[in-house]
Amino acid sequence: MSEAQQGTGSIGRRLTLYLAIVAALLSLMSWGMVAGFARQAAEETQDNVLAAAVTAIAETLRSEQGELRLELPYSAFSMLGAISEDRVFYRVTANSALLTGYADLPVATDPNTRAGEVSFATQPYRGEDLRMATLSRRILAGNQPTLVIVTVGQTREGIAAIALDLSRQAGLLSIAFFLVAVLLSFFAARTSLRPLNEIAGAVSRRGPSDLRPLRRPAPDELAPLIAALNRFMDRLGQSIRRSEEFIVEAAHRVRTPLATVRVQADLALRNVSGEAERNRLRQMIRAIDESSRSAGQLLDHATVAFRADDLLRDHISLKILATQTATTMTPTASIKDINIDLKAEDITVAGDAVLLDTALRNILDNAIKYSPEDTTISISVEAKGDYGYITVRDQGKGLGDDPAEVLTQRFKRGRNTENIVGSGLGLTIAADVLAAHGGHLQLSNNKEGKGTCASLVLPLL
């Protein structure tokens, strides 16, 4: 499927990556926003508490016998202590004179703030940033109108720690969110690519000559691909059919005149008396035989290719098939004084009788061809397990050292076949026929003594 394909990376991985990048950006954004909100909320809380404290202090202000009285309320300070562990400073002034508190506390007076309104400021004090709330109030002490300014400041360290803690939690949450999103992206990418993989699987599962159009439900995006694939397969099929038709036509056209030439050559052989001429004619007849045999095998091969596309599934008795084929081959065998010995069980398989006959004929033809004169070829038909075996044993030279797969390739011949005519198509045809039937061809050297053992293996009904 992916052999030596120059890939541009996986769509699934790319899709997952893009979705993960989106998730990362969203996580980062949500983290930033939550952290910002947390910080803002913590600071607002502090401002509110500071405002409450400063208001509570200002409300205790009263004038008694012309004297300004102030009592710091306990609650004002305890609520400041409740929100965080931060340092607290305060200052109360009356007409710019210190009433109580920290004299050096900076007071940021906002000119826009009216009396009775709390204003906020952040200023450094004693080495730390101080958030301060200031409230001014006018009060009559005796006959003197007095401007009292109350300031309460609190460091921001605890608030910052709270905000940091919240932001850390938001960060962890964002990371978890991101991981879940990546996982989901991975599944989403896989799920959306599944139809593609299914189609690829369906195409790659097909037999080598299955060029039927692909008919399966597919997402809209894949429909053009399938249509293109089907058009391509259709063109390929037509092209293959055309070349096969051409081969059949060519084989026919060669075979028919060859038969005439053969008859004429035979006649000529009988009438010619000179030994040199007779030899020349014999060589001619041999070449003619070889050509007509090759043409026949080309025809067989084309037939196999045709019929395997749409295989017949007739019930066929292997015994009858083997008997018939052996009978048709007997004349050829007897030329070399070769005896064909048949032992058959009655076994039935489903298949195309013409193709199976072609396969067996090619195997027998090979056996006769490679057998020395005055030997026996034995054919046995038997069932072993789920398979039926037609085994042909000869007493020839055997296979040599070549592996069986090489011998069944088209136009490949063994290395010990010098001086023997042959196209190299016989075993290919037999192997193709058996493969079309769901079986296979077994080739081995004969166990007892020399010779070849070829088995046509077919699944039983």
Binding site: Y74, L80, R87, V88, G101
Partner: protein, 342 residues
């Protein structure tokens, strides 16, 4: 046994430039020239076991232990005197030192293991929980029931003025930082405080600067009742030795629990050993149960402490409220009205 208390009838804010005179001093020689200077409100006889234990673990270190009143301690540290550790039971003054930035941070696994209420910003570390108790001499209460709450106490004292006249002792809150802390916290927590003060004031009470003298006077029979004594193991041990003549009472309506705290002043010249010393105190403080140390542990689980069910005073800015000179002036005026009754 101890030096006379310094009488400092002055507020913290308008202190004269008097030279600081330690109440007591101890030096334990070490083998090196490194010195750890400790300023503390705890009496020597209470604290010697802690110093000796630390000296055994760090024999090379010179230990200088200075005893001072809580207000002296606060003033010394505020004015930049050089000490490595300051230990005080006056939580409010300790807190103010921390709030004003006169302390150093210290973090160690030991300080991390403290409960939240026992530490503040890694600068204050509590190592004891000590309740305020009432010490009574049972001889004076013959024929009367021993009071369990402030209401009981008010009734007993009001109904028997002749028996108790002149034999009531309590802190002079004008002198004692701890007494002031007890009084202000109690005034805030229960309105019985002012009524009790009124009743005690009519009985011409004796005013003390320190717990130890009050305990002595109850033991000797000079006092019938000492109100708001710092209940340490010393008081418990003495009461045990009195064969029932002296009892320790914890008021069931409300009872203050203070934290004795240690801190490292920013002037400290040996903060590393100061940290080690604080770790040593905390490891004793976090021990299980009471086992021979003069001061109670931090997680006081003794029946007396747990039955009362009052948590310790919280370390926080609220402690500064009564240190404010205006508030202090108001409170002392009210207190004098009630107790002194000239």
């Amino acid at each position: 046994m101890r030096l006379a208390c310094l009488t400092l009838a002055l507020s913290l804010w308008i202190s004269p430039a008097t030279a600081f005179e330690p109440e007591d001093f101890l030096r334990i020689e070490g083998t090196s020239d490194r010195v750890l200077r400790i300023l503390s409100t705890a009496d020597l006889d209470v604290f010697i076991p802690y110093l000796e234990a630390f000296h055994r673990a760090n024999p090379s270190l010179d230990l200088e232990y200075t005893v001072a009143s809580s207000s002296d301690l606060h003033r010394e540290i505020s004015s930049g005197a050089i000490y490595d550790v300051a230990i005080s039971s006056a939580m409010d003054l300790q807190f103010q030192l921390a709030n004003d930035g006169l302390t150093q941070r210290y973090r160690s696994p030991m300080t991390q293991s403290l409960p939240d209420w026992a530490t503040w910003r890694d600068v204050i570390f509590a190592f004891t929980t000590e309740p305020a108790v009432v010490l009574v001499s049972t001889e004076y209460f013959e024929g009367l029931s021993i009071p369990q709450s402030r209401q009981d106490l008010i009734e007993v004292l009001r109904d028997n003025p002749t028996r108790f006249a002149g034999s009531i002792g309590t802190y002079d809150v004008r002198d004692s930082g701890l007494g002031y802390l007890f009084a202000t916290q109690e005034a805030r927590a229960t309105d019985a405080y002012w009524r009790l003060s009124e009743v005690m004031g009519r009985l011409n009470p004796t005013l003390y600067c320190c717990s130890s003298q009050m305990i002595e006077d109850v033991m000797s029979g000079k006092l019938a009742l000492a109100y708001n004594v710092l209940g340490s193991y010393v008081a418990e041990r003495l009461a045990d030795q009195s064969e029932g003549r002296v009892q320790i009472l914890r008021m069931t309506d409300f009872s203050n629990v203070i934290l004795r705290t240690a801190l490292i002043p920013s002037t400290a010249q040996n903060p590393n050993d100061a940290g080690a010393f604080i770790d040593a105190l905390l490891s004793i403080a976090l021990r299980d149960g009471a086992d021979g140390w003069p001061l109670p542990p931090l997680n006081d689980t003794s029946p007396a402490a747990s039955s009362a069910g009052f948590g310790p005073i919280r370390i926080g800015p609220a402690l500064m409220v009564y240190l404010d000179p205006l508030n202090r002036r108001n409170f002392l005026a009210e207190w004098e009205n009630a107790i002194v009754q000239q």
